[in-house]
Symmetry: C2
Subunit: 503 residues, 2 copies
């Protein structure tokens, strides 16, 4: 492909993306394909001769597009949002165009230095403690990781190595493998699967502790677990707390947990994958009270802050602990500017050697949106969730679990779980909206997350009407709900919706 | 930013990338900035109000571009190439536009299924054993990872967990932490730093074994190491062999190593990060003889196969071993098509939960280039390396170390290492070409790798002239070289260059 073809292909692709995102409401959010569908449409071996880009684009529309689940549709309410914005898409394009791999400073000074700068921008936007920032006169700093899973694993590995080092210094009687065999990690039973996986990968048993009625991990629970472990001769290494759990967007009590961690010399990592973005709004910062007690913190810019996947922001209070744990130097990786504080060799801060120039899309997005625009985005999602929760709450057949938190509403049909399960199955079969189940204190709930690139109030109404419609259609037997209520609630709800809209 | 602005911005970015890559030879390959340069040019906090994309692009050209090391310049000869091609850039753009995260099948069936298909295309292109392919009727399969570092770590973790499980089944006397404390891994002292790092991260001591005169790990060396370890009560778990080492592009003897691994029940992983791409050409396949003895294999499509970073192809003979080691299931991750063979839940094959739709750029690139085009690309690089090696070899002041292998030439000034070191320093200071040092059997060499998006024979001549020029200018004292030779060699070389060009 020559450069002129690239100009044509690239611009056609820009238009394709613009059209796709503009008209995304026209498509069912879930695809209508069955496993193995694509296998039948594509050849079994790579063609010998090159094919034209127009043929490839045609096949993409014909074969790939029907197999896409439309995460950027406002009718996508599953998992948590995956960010997508126009400036970030262009940022990715420019990153690919530069085609650089910035594993150390000399590999592209701008790649490292822009990351240092935008991570400080972000840290200040969230009002994180100064010690986490690159500009602070200490060993702390921020770095972009690929995912929260990576950040959590990195924290676990760094904590593990630090604990081993500390124990070896303190207690010469234990061998290194003795120490490693007794290490233990903590999190709550509400934390993301990535936390449990980090336990497996780091070979540290991850104790998933019980939570309070609001699904939050409390300090006393952690303290009891640590005391139990110490009594058995185990060595507590790290606690991974969550701000905004995947199940219900619950917030662990960081202040309590942090005090306990400090007392027992346990590394506190905070996974704020989804909800961390909300701390750009001062009104949500009380939820991260105690953050200064953490050793490390991550949130996914690529979830709720308009920058496309992958872009996970991670800060450490002492990045030297990471570098000590991960540093493997080779002659071909050395350069004469090594070890300067404004130019960290980020390869020592992550699992992989290679790294993409992700700071570029972050910088472009932050500048073209502005701090005020980001806060508006967050508040808009929260408002949409409240609107949807009000619709649900006004229908007596449903109960909202807890309350709408950030952009997440959990609800269920009153009574047996089987009804909620059946409702969700039927809704999913129709493919108009996509939600997923959750489990709160043993009861099945439906998680409704505000997602998509540009969700509006009318999309919330659409979702609620779809839920109503299915519930009416499938005649799920619900003893608690009289026929009268079932027939008359929709008018009432419509009025509530309009009132919300005026707010 | 609205959709119309996106169309403008996106197309301007396409033109920027086209112009950048077209005119990349006009720029010094290395930037002229000093650590901390960017800090002075950008504000310390994110602006409150949005800025126009034209302002951001202007700042990008003014502040970011001067800090870029131009990996896609043909004058970049450091490390190994990082692939970049026009179709892959558009592929990345489309991937960002879809904005999906394909961690399981239902998250976007096309994302998983296209990956299954293109990984088979690639596997067949390289003539890998059938057992590695998704289409084979067994538990094997291919997956796209972010980097070779990740693939190696994943192999190490899977091997570790498998060894622990096997030992626990075989020998109930040992506790799990006893077993873990005795695990050991092997590689050669020529393997990439990522291998040593995988040892640290997986908490398995990584023994870096000595190599033969060609820098290759041999079976006997491995056998002796394993025997030593067994005698000490250690438990050999994995050997990571390299096809195309970073230092000199050496090839471990897979056939010998594989036999030893089989004998001692050791997982053999092959890291063919750079050279793996060359196996699309039948003439290089003898170098991977014995590949069927490996449990897993990776090569970086994003190094030498025209697909932009990140895109590391990894195959496993038994992916179930990975899934067993990594599987963490949660209610919100379940869906009704789970466990079907054509639709693997790739999240269990990798470290992170989230994953980008990387198969799209791979598919677009493979189709628009074609199998024959890829082979031509590989052979062209090899030809350029031979051409450059001939230029170097014809200059008596230099010695080529070993011979040009794939797209890599290692050379040095005859005599003391200090001269080679000084030459490289001076060349790097001038920023016209970028090469890095290597260390072969204790001697400093200069690594010259064929890199960049579109290197030509004339670029090799340019590099050689630059090397000559610096060597003449800096008057490095070299006892072995008479003044006469120093003054007359350039004419001779020019002739050689032209002869090569006719081939």
């Amino acid at each position: 492909m020559d450069v002129n073809e690239f100009r044509e292909f690239g611009k056609a692709a820009v238009d394709f993306v613009a059209d796709y995102l503009e008209n995304i409401r026209d498509k069912d959010v879930l695809p209508s394909v069955h496993p193995g569908y694509l296998h039948k449409s594509l050849p079994e071996v790579l063609p010998e001769q090159p094919e034209g880009w127009r043929d490839v684009m045609r096949d993409m529309e014909k074969f790939i597009l029907p197999g896409i689940t439309h995460w950027q549709s406002p009718n996508f309410h599953a998992y948590f949002p995956t960010a997508c914005s126009y400036p970030a898409i262009v940022g990715e394009l420019l990153t690919s165009g530069f085609g650089i791999v910035g594993f150390n400073w000399i590999c592209s000074p701008a790649c490292t230095e822009l990351e240092v700068i935008v991570m400080d921008w972000l840290g200040k936007l969230l009002d994180l403690p100064e010690e986490f920032l690159n500009c602070h006169d200490g060993p702390g700093g921020g770095v972009i990781q690929g995912s929260a899973s990576e950040s959590i694993l990195i924290a676990a590995l760094a904590a593990r190595e630090q604990t081993v080092r500390r124990l070896r210094e303190e207690n010469t009687e234990m061998s290194e493998s003795d120490i490693r065999g007794r290490l233990i990690a903590y999190s709550s039973d509400q934390s993301n699967s990535a936390v449990e996986k980090a336990g497996i990968l780091s070979a540290m048993p991850m104790r998933l502790l019980g939570t309070d009625s609001k699904c939050a991990l409390r300090g006393e629970t952690l303290r009891q677990a640590i005391e139990q472990d110490l009594a058995m001769g185990n060595i507590p290494s790290i606690c991974i707390a969550t701000l905004g759990t995947t199940g219900t967007c619950a917030f662990d009590n960081i202040e309590e947990i942090g005090q306990v961690c400090r007392e027992y010399n346990v590394w506190l990592h905070i996974d704020a994958a989804y909800a961390g973005a909300a701390f750009c709004c001062p009104e949500y910062r009380p939820l991260m009270k105690g953050v200064e007690l953490a050793e490390s913190f991550n949130f996914n810019v690529h979830k709720w802050m308009m920058v496309n996947f992958d872009c996970c922001a991670m800060w450490l209070k002492n990045a030297d602990l990471l570098v000590q744990a991960f540093n493997v130097d080779r002659i071909y990786l050395q350069h004469r500017f090594q070890g300067q504080s404004k130019a960290p060799d980020y390869r020592h801060w992550q699992i992989s050697l290679g790294r993409r120039f992700r700071a570029l899309k972050l910088w472009i997005t932050l500048r073209t949106v502005g701090a005020e625009g980001i806060r508006r985005h967050i508040r808009h999602h929260v408002h949409l969730a409240k609107h949807f929760a009000a619709l649900i709450a006004a229908d007596e057949r449903f109960e909202v679990i807890g309350e709408a938190t950030m952009g997440l509403v959990c609800f269920r049909i009153r009574g047996e779980c089987s009804a909620t399960k059946k409702l969700l199955e039927k809704i999913t079969e129709r493919k108009k909206i996509y939600m997923i189940p959750g489990n709160v204190h043993g009861r099945i709930v439906i998680r409704f997350a505000i997602c998509g690139m540009n969700p509006q109030l009318s999309d919330m109404d659409f979702a609620f009407q779809e839920i109503q419609h299915v519930l009416n259609e499938v005649h799920i037997p619900i003893e608690e709900i009289s026929d009268k209520i079932r027939n008359h609630f929709s008018k009432k709800i419509r009025i509530t919706a309009s009132e919300e809209r005026i707010q």
